[in-house]
């Protein structure tokens, strides 16, 4: 699929381009959303978030930069954050993953989204590649440690220790950034 041409057609609001994107990625995005929502919500909610994801990409297509990431990556990011917002606004229980906290400066919370994104990107660059990948899979894609271990061909305990270490390093780098500021 030529992503540049699809994106250009989406920007021109050609519905056939959106349909093509749906055909290519609907199952994949449903998988991402189901992982976050299905333990707590029903399939209709999953379908709603999947539809919202494609709709958001449709209306915000001008903000997409294919030099930074593929359409699949943008769809993944939109799906994950839409699903999480849905989950948080609805579900009464909080999974343990949501309770993993690190110490950050109040300034970090007050940063605009673009600055926060840059700060996280910088902090992630200081991590080993594997630690970075494990953190993203666990905290962004909501994959569990067993699944990550299989995907990355590692032992589960190794994934867990790298997850712990990566989290501590990320916290340290975010705090160091505070002292730089």
């Amino acid at each position: 699929m030529d992503e540049g041409s699809i994106l250009a057609r989406i920007r021109k609001k050609e519905e056939a381009a959106l349909e093509q994107l749906l055909e290519e990625y609907e199952n994949y995005i449903t998988g991402i959303v189901s992982k976050i929502l299905l333990p707590y919500m029903c399939r209709e909610d999953v379908q709603e978030v999947v539809s919202d994801t494609f709709y958001k990409l449709w209306i915000h297509s001008e903000n997409i930069d294919l030099q930074k990431g593929s359409l699949k990556t943008y769809l993944t990011a939109i799906a994950r954050n839409t699903a999480r917002n849905k989950f948080r606004s609805y579900s009464k229980d909080v999974p343990l993953r949501e309770q993993d906290v690190v110490e950050v400066d109040e300034l970090f919370e007050r940063m605009v989204q673009k600055e926060r994104s840059a700060a996280i990107g910088q902090a992630l660059q200081n991590l080993q590649q594997e630690e970075k990948e494990i953190l993203i899979r666990y905290y962004f894609l909501y994959q569990d440690t067993n699944e990550i271990a299989k995907l990355m061909d590692m032992r589960v305990n190794t994934v867990k220790s790298k997850l712990r270490r990566g989290r501590k390093k990320l916290e340290k780098h975010l705090q160091e950034r505070r002292s730089e500021l």
Binding site: E24, N27, Y28, S34, L38, P39, Y40, R43, D65, K68, G69, S70, K72, T73, Y74, T76, A77, N81, R84, K92, D93, V94, P95, L96, R97, E98, Q99, D100, V101, V102, E103, V104, D105, E106, E109, Q113, S117, A118, I120, G121, L124, E133, L135, I136, Y139, F140, L141, D144, T145, N146, E147, K150, L151, M152, D153, V156, K160, R167, L170, L174
Partner: protein, 354 residues
């Protein structure tokens, strides 16, 4: 100030995410620009086999099982535990349109996870399956023919095999002490119709495919603790804690809650277990109160995650007191043979393993 990791990752730069999704292994089996990992190689092989076998008929298909669907509930070194809890002997039912097969069951005394596959035998029946005209249903059974009127089965997660395989999987999960279930496949009007009578004869007379499923572990094991002066669900005296291999159940009795209490009833006791190797594992905690030192120093905090909970479900009412039960299902199975000591809110209690 503290911030959750999942909140922090909400603002991850798109480039960092792209790096993981496009240059490394990914969940997307349709990706064709990178080498699939070993697990996907197995998946491709299995799916290809499924296509061949579905062409050859249901019996040939029997060698295929959904890849490792239950293994995620176990650590690498828990073969004994997985053998105790997973039933893999397949049973199947077949007619001219569909082959329905019980692929596997993961169960303890309270939790049942049942995986059923449905393979369409021709184009028309596949079309009916994907459009929902043909519907799958799993019902708990009282006896061989009389089905339980109130079904406690949660919604089944539906998974479609790789395109072209004509197979769908239904992973059903329920908290039920019943061991007999019936999987039913038929026209949606017969399955969900107002006039449906929940007996296997009714479904059989209406052209449905029936598959009895037995879901019981090889052995029954429960750790029981009777804690003192412990509250749960905000203000209900906790009378009993039962730890099984796939779940924890808390039970207590109290007067009915008032409206304000109803609104704020999420308190859970903190439960820490120590294994025979001396390792401490925090099994349950309440995120609204500080951890006790015992939980804070636990060796493994995240080993067991909670999958879901039923908050304050009244199970019977008599006069002014109501029995309450809250259950939490483990994502990973717990080898309770290895549990030696239990602390509730920092206090050690005697435990009984049955």
């Amino acid at each position: 100030m503290k911030m959750s990791m999942t909140d922090i990752f909400t603002d991850i730069p798109i480039e960092s995410l792209d790096e993981i999704l496009t240059q490394k292994v990914s969940q997307d089996p349709s990706s064709n620009n990178r080498q699939p990992s070993h697990i996907y190689r197995r998946w491709y092989t299995a799916a290809a086999l499924a296509i061949v076998c579905s062409l050859a008929g249901c019996a040939g298909y029997a060698v295929f099982t959904y890849p490792e669907v239950f293994q995620r509930y176990f650590e690498e070194n828990e073969e004994k535990l997985s053998k105790e809890l997973i039933q893999t002997e397949p049973t199947q039912a077949k007619n001219g349109d569909y082959c329905m097969k019980m692929e596997g069951v993961l169960s303890d005394e309270e939790v049942k996870r049942i995986l059923i596959s449905v393979t369409a035998q021709n184009d028309d029946s596949w079309l009916c399956l994907v459009t929902g005209e043909t519907t799958f249903h799993l019902i708990s059974a009282k006896t061989d023919s009389s089905l339980a009127a109130s079904v406690s089965i949660e919604d089944c997660t539906e998974k479609e095999a790789k395109k072209g395989s004509y197979t769908k999987y239904y992973l059903c999960e329920t908290k039920s002490s019943l061991t007999d279930f019936v999987a039913v496949l038929g026209h949606r009007d017969k399955i969900w119709g107002e006039n449906s009578i929940e007996t296997t004869e009714y479904y059989e007379q209406n052209g449905c495919l029936i598959l009895p499923v037995k879901a019981s572990p090889q052995s029954e094991k429960t750790i029981t603790i009777i804690p003192k002066d412990t509250l749960f669900l905000q203000n209900i005296p906790l009378e009993k804690i039962e730890i099984k291999r796939l779940s924890i159940t808390l039970s207590g009795t109290a007067a009915p809650l008032n409206a304000a209490q109803e609104k704020n009833k999420k308190q859970k006791p903190e439960i820490v277990a120590q294994t025979t190797e001396g390792k401490t594992i925090c099994l349950l905690y309440d995120n609204t109160t500080p951890l006790t030192p015992k939980a804070a120093q636990a060796d493994e905090f995240h080993r067991i995650n909670l999958l879901e909970s039923n908050h304050s479900t009244p199970i019977s009412a008599s006069g002014e007191s109501i029995k309450y039960q809250a259950s939490y299902l483990f994502v990973h199975a717990l080898d309770i043979d290895q549990i030696q000591k239990i602390w509730i809110n920092g206090t050690e209690y005697p435990m009984e393993l049955n």
